[in-house]
C-alpha cells in the first residue's frame, strides 16, 4: 500500500534519514521504533510531505501513486504537497497532538474533514464519537482547554474525519497516564480492525511491538532491523536497547 525506497532527508547539512526503505501493507499495523532523534518522526513527516527527500532517486509510492520521485520510464518527478497527500488518503496524527487550541472540538473535527470537499455527514461524526464518546460531551469546548488524553483523542478523531486509508500516528502515548495509554491503544486496534491501515511511531517499544504486526527499528536515520513484531520482541538486541532488559 505504501512503499518508501531509498529515502534520504537532510536538515541543512545534517542527514536525518539515510536510504530508508520500508513498506506498509493494507490492513496492517506497522510500528517504527527507535531512540529519540533516530528519525522516526522525520519518516512520518516525509511521508506526509512536510519534508522533502534530498535525493531524486528516492521514491514514495502510495497505492501506485507517486507521492515523491519519478515512476519508472517517466522523467517527471512527483513531489506532492501535504494537502494533496491527505486527499490521497494518508492522514497523520502529529507528535504532540497539535490540535487547534483556539477552535472548538467540533471545529477541529471539521478541520479534519477539510480535505474532503463535501460537508461531513452525521455518520462521520458518529464514527469518531463511537471510538471517543468523551469528545461528544465536549463538542463545544475549546480544544486548548482539553486534558492531554482528550487532546490526543481529538487529534486521532480529527484525522479519522478525513476517512483515511492509512493513518500515521506519531507517539500517541506521549505524556499520557498508563491507563489512558491502554485505552488509546485499544482504540487504535479498533480503528485498525474497522479497516484503516496504521503506521505507528512509538517510543514505548513494548506497546508498539504488542500492537503491531510488523516493525522497523531505526537508528541514526537508518533502518537497522525489521521483521514481525513477535520476532523482534524476542530479538536480544531489541530487548536490551528498547525493552529495558
Amino acid at each position: 500500500m505504501l512503499r518508501l525506497e531509498n529515502i534520504d532527508v537532510s536538515y541543512g547539512r545534517i542527514r536525518a534519514l539515510q536510504s530508508v526503505s520500508l513498506q506498509v501493507k493494507e490492513g496492517e499495523i506497522v510500528a517504527l521504533i527507535g531512540a529519540n532523534g533516530a528519525g522516526k518522526s522525520t519518516t512520518l513527516r516525509t511521508i506526509s510531505g512536510l519534508l522533502k527527500p534530498a535525493n531524486k532517486e528516492g521514491r514514495i509510492v502510495f497505492n501506485r501513486k507517486h507521492i515523491f520521485g519519478s515512476p519508472p520510464n517517466s522523467s517527471r518527478t512527483a513531489s506532492l504537497k501535504p494537502h494533496t497527500i491527505v486527499q490521497l488518503g494518508v492522514s497523520q496524527v502529529p507528535e504532540g497532538r497539535r490540535v487547534f487550541p483556539k477552535m472548538s472540538v467540533h471545529e477541529n473535527l471539521l478541520m479534519g474533514a477539510h480535505s474532503r470537499k463535501e460537508k461531513p455527514l452525521q455518520e462521520d461524526y458518529e464514527r469518531v464519537f463511537h471510538h471517543f464518546p468523551r469528545l461528544k460531551e465536549r463538542r463545544k469546548q475549546l480544544a486548548g482547554t482539553l486534558s492531554g488524553g482528550e487532546q490526543q483523542m481529538l487529534a486521532i478523531g480529527r484525522s479519522l474525519m478525513s476517512q483515511p486509508k492509512l493513518l500515521l500516528l506519531d507517539e500517541p502515548s506521549m505524556g499520557l497516564a498508563p491507563l489512558l495509554v491502554e485505552e488509546i491503544f485499544h482504540i487504535i486496534e479498533d480503528i485498525n480492525s474497522s479497516g484503516t491501515t496504521i503506521m505507528l511511531v512509538e517510543q514505548n517499544a513494548h506497546l508498539a511491538l504488542e500492537i503491531s504486526d510488523r516493525a522497523y527499528v531505526l537508528e541514526t536515520g537508518r533502518i537497522v532491523l525489521e521483521g514481525s513484531s513477535q520476532e523482534l520482541a524476542k530479538n536480544p538486541e531489541v530487548r536490551r536497547a528498547y525493552l529495558g532488559d
Binding site: 506526509s48 510531505g49 512536510l50 504537497k81 501535504p82 494537502h83 491527505v86 486527499q87 492522514s91 497523520q92 502529529p94 497539535r98 490540535v99 487547534f100 487550541p101 483556539k102 477552535m103 471545529e107 471539521l110 478541520m111 479534519g112 477539510h114 480535505s115 474532503r116 480529527r158 484525522s159 478525513s162
Partner: protein, 292 residues
C-alpha cells in the same frame, strides 16, 4: 466639552478606515508573521482605482468601491507572488525589506502615472448632514462607518463559518498541522493576502470619498498608523485590529479636543508603546509562551 459626542463620531469614521487597513496587517501577520509594509500602498492604490473608475469611467459608488477592492485584491496577490512567496523560507527580515521595496516601487509608480498632486474625488453622491441633538452626522460618515462595519462583519462571518475561513484560522494556529489536515497552505496565504488587500482597497476608496483627497504618498502614514492599530489591538487578532483602529482614530481626534493636536501622532504611538509595555502582546493578543 459639549462637542465631545461630535468628536467621537469624527473619530469613529477615521478609526473605521484605520481598522480596515489594520485588518489586512493583522490577518497576514497572524498567518505568516510578516509585517507587510506595502499595505499602505495597496490602500493608496485602492483609492486611485476608485478615483479613476469614478472620474474617468463615471461609475457609481458601488462599482467604484467594488472595483477598487477587486483591483487591490489582484495587486495583493501579485505582491505575494513576486515579493513574498520566493522569500517564504528566508529570514523574515528579508521579506520585510522586500515589502519595503514594493512600497517604494508602488508609490513612485503612482507619482509617475498620476503626478504627485493631491486629487479630489468626484462627488459620487450628495452629502447630507443630519443633526441629532447637538451633534451632527453626515451621510459620508454614515457610509464610511456603515461600509466598514459591514465589511468587518462579513470578514468575521467568513472567518468563523466558512470552510476557507476555518482553514485560515487553523493555518494561523498551526501551519504544519493545517497542512496535515489537507489545507493548501500556499492558497490560504494567497487568499489571506487577497482578502487583506481588498479590505485595504475598500478603505482607500472610502477614504477617497470621505477626505476627498487622493495622493501617491497617502499610504505611508496611514499604513504606519494602521500597523500601530493592529499591534495595539493584538497583532493576529481580527477583533483586536478593529478595536485598535477605532482606538487610534478616537485618540487622534481626542488629542485635538484637548488642545494637543500638535502631538497627535505622538499620542497614537505613545499609547501604543504604553500598552505594549503593560501587555506586550497587545490588548486582545494571546500571550506567547517562551518555548524552551
Amino acid at each position: 466639552m459639549k462637542d465631545l459626542m461630535q468628536q467621537l463620531i469624527n473619530g469613529l469614521a477615521l478609526g473605521s478606515i484605520y481598522a480596515l487597513i489594520a485588518l489586512g496587517y493583522t490577518m497576514v501577520y497572524g498567518i505568516i508573521s510578516l509585517i507587510n509594509f506595502a499595505y499602505g500602498e495597496i490602500y493608496m492604490f485602492g483609492a486611485f482605482t476608485g478615483l479613476i473608475l469614478a472620474a474617468t469611467y463615471k461609475t457609481n459608488v458601488v462599482v467604484a468601491l467594488l472595483g477598487g477592492m477587486m483591483l487591490s485584491l489582484v495587486l495583493g496577490v501579485l505582491i505575494e507572488r513576486v515579493a513574498y512567496k520566493p522569500l517564504r523560507r528566508s529570514s523574515r527580515l528579508s521579506a520585510l525589506i522586500s515589502t519595503i521595496g514594493v512600497s517604494i516601487f508602488l508609490s513612485t509608480l503612482m507619482v509617475l502615472l498620476k503626478g504627485p498632486n493631491t486629487q479630489g474625488f468626484p462627488k459620487l453622491f450628495e452629502n447630507k448632514v443630519y443633526a441629532i441633538g447637538n451633534f451632527q452626522i453626515t451621510i459620508y460618515q454614515i457610509v464610511i462607518i456603515g461600509v466598514a462595519a459591514f465589511l468587518m462583519l462579513a470578514l468575521h462571518l467568513f472567518v468563523t463559518y466558512t470552510r476557507t475561513g476555518r482553514a485560515m484560522r487553523a493555518t494561523a494556529q498551526d501551519q504544519d498541522a493545517a497542512g496535515l489536515m489537507g489545507v493548501n497552505i500556499d492558497r490560504i496565504i494567497a487568499t489571506t493576502f487577497a482578502i487583506g488587500s481588498s479590505l485595504a482597497g475598500a478603505a482607500g476608496v472610502l477614504a477617497g470619498i470621505y477626505f476627498n483627497a487622493v495622493q501617491p504618498y497617502m499610504g505611508t502614514m496611514a499604513g504606519l498608523k494602521a500597523f500601530a492599530a493592529a499591534v495595539l489591538g493584538g497583532i493576529g487578532s481580527i477583533p483586536g485590529a478593529m478595536l485598535g483602529g477605532l482606538m487610534i482614530g478616537l485618540l487622534e481626534v481626542l488629542s485635538v479636543t484637548v488642545n494637543l493636536s500638535e502631538y497627535k501622532d505622538a499620542f497614537a504611538f505613545g499609547i501604543l508603546i504604553l500598552v505594549l509595555l503593560v501587555k506586550p502582546s497587545g490588548i486582545m493578543g494571546q500571550k506567547i509562551n517562551k518555548k524552551v
